[in-house]
Symmetry: C2
Subunit: 357 residues, 2 copies
């Protein structure tokens, strides 16, 4: 099994590298005239477009863009994937939109190794209120850009329309998932399950959505789309569970996020859900979860509990289970037309489920 | 001239009434299963979807939806306009999205005679931070819904794609226009002209965008779209100038907005721009513009200055000029195929430029 994982992962890494080179370049070229046009309107409009472009171009693994290519390959024997280029930009602009709003909501100051957009705009505009308003608008602008980019795809209209419907669905699902994470002050009861939140918040926009975008651009039929959903959903949940694990046990220098951030922000991760019901753990959760100022020693004690109680191991096991489910869904797909399609999808399972960053 | 205005206006009012009945009903039906699905996820998700649906269904003149129908009629001899029904919902959902974000940014507590969405969500979720985050997400959800609704249009794919491109453009322009209104703390210089802001912020999303949406759904060619832009741009600017006038001199019970709100919020309206350069007026502007707590007597003095200095009359004259420009653009259009198209467009000029609410 472990050899197979390495092999699979090897097939996704070169795709990711090629996609990243292409998306970074095309996104820079696509955004340049827009930032210039914005700057001609006013310093403020130019500053906002610039901040959004900086975020969109600063790092980003371009994993979602690579999954657009993989989805395309799964439904087409055409090489290369050039009809997907605008859709690849679109998913990355969609991500910029969501990150901008999300960082503002979570009060996260750092993103991709630089200042979050709302932090930058507070500085540029001079007040917190102006900066926050501009950041929400910066996200809205990225959302409009994402749609504009998608519609530049040069594929037959009916294919592009199906892709655009998939794109709208991603947006509804990811926002619904973010809302599903919220609990009213003083609410009781368990709320939605962690995995149902992960399916909406992450699986749709990170895995299934990009795959369906690519597949629809290649003219996939409903049956192929359903197969990709059966593959993408468990993989997407596994991706988010891996994220939950990395947020506590990962190397901050590799993930780019402050360690234990999820705990201090009170995120309802799978690790937290696994601790529920244990009286000692509940007492510690009440002291540190969602408490940005909680003593480091207490957070460390909670992290030890996550490890020693077996919560970590259970989440790791669930990730493997979900990756296996994705692999079985892939095995069941008839991908005869597309040799690279199967390899990339298999590689995605290892790359997304077993990543360390 | 005044008789003609009355006649024109008469032709738009019945369209508006028919459209309102239809849009109110179809939007309620379209949103019902979505709110139900959201409620099955969690109380919080259901509450947000409900708040958004309440706003979308609470009043709203449905003027933008009526302009979709007018744009359709201008490019087609088909009656009725049923292929536009989903696009009509889409523009109204787009407006809900923009209003939700806008009210939060402007700290406006009341909208359409009820609580603004962020006010409602602060109450429902128990804290200001949760309510504000949920309101931004409620807007984002409305944006996703708007796209989903548009894609339900049953017209040939290439027409729908052109409409969707117009829809994306509206979003980029309106957000750019909102940003163009912003000035950094301590910025100097005049910034963009009021009319260039109005063109982006209002003309695109309120007039030209809906017209092009309808026209594209009817299969309009580029020439017809260009004609509609020449018609819609001046009318849209006139609409916003009328808004500027109503915000100071209108009847709050008819406009539904607190009187002098624009002044207290520091909006860069045409009336304010007209006062610039006059030393006495500048001094008063410095005391009350953007000062929510400014004494009522000072605001009243500024309002008197707007009247007595001739600023009000100059803006009124400019509205008439722009309406005439729109009428000339309409006269130049060859609309032989569509008898109702011309009547509705002519009616829109009077209804939008000369409205009192």
């Amino acid at each position: 099994m472990s050899d197979e994982l390495v092999d699979d992962s090897r097939s996704f890494a070169p795709l990711l590298a090629r996609v990243k080179t292409q998306v970074d370049a095309s996104l820079a070229e696509w955004l340049r005239p827009r930032v210039a046009a914005a700057s001609r309107i006013s310093v403020e409009v130019g500053g906002v477009a610039e901040a959004l472009a900086e975020l969109a171009l600063r790092g980003g693994k371009r994993m979602r863009a690579a999954l657009v290519a993989a989805g395309f390959a799964a439904a087409s024997s055409d090489e290369p994937w050039s009809p997907c280029a605008p859709a690849m930009m679109a998913v990355e602009l969609l991500q910029a939109y969501l990150l901008i709003h999300d960082d503002w909501m979570d009060d996260d100051d750092v993103r991709r190794g630089g200042k979050a957009v709302h932090v930058l705009l507070r500085e540029r505009l001079g007040t917190r209120a102006l900066g926050d308003a501009a950041a929400v608008l910066a996200g809205d602008l990225a959302s409009g850009y994402a749609q504009e980019a998608l519609f530049e795809s040069s594929v037959p209209p009916e294919r592009l329309l199906r892709a655009a419907r998939a794109f709208a669905r991603i947006q509804v699902e990811v926002v619904t998932g973010q809302l599903a994470e919220m609990r009213s002050e003083g609410s009781s009861g368990p709320g939605p399950s962690v995995e149902s939140i992960h399916a909406l918040k992450t699986a749709s926009y990170t895995v299934t959505g990009p795959l369906l975008l690519g597949a629809n651009l290649a003219g996939a039929d409903d049956a192929r789309c359903a197969e990709l959903e059966r593959f993408g959903r468990p993989l997407g949940i596994a991706f988010q569970l891996r994220d939950d694990l990395l947020g506590v046990f990962g190397d901050p220098s590799a993930t780019g996020k402050p360690v234990w951030n999820d705990i201090r922000q009170g995120k309802r991760t799978a690790l937290v859900a696994e601790l529920r019901g244990d009286a000692r753990a509940e007492a510690m959760l009440a002291r540190v979860l969602g408490k940005p100022g909680a003593p480091q020693a207490d957070v460390a004690a909670l992290v030890r509990m996550m490890d020693e109680s077996g919560a970590r191991a259970r989440v790791e096991a669930r990730v493997r289970e979900l990756c296996d489910e994705a692999r079985r869904a892939l095995d069941a797909m008839a991908l005869s037309s597309s040799p690279s399609g199967r390899g990339w999808l298999a590689g995605a399972v290892s790359a997304l489920g077993d990543r360390s960053a």
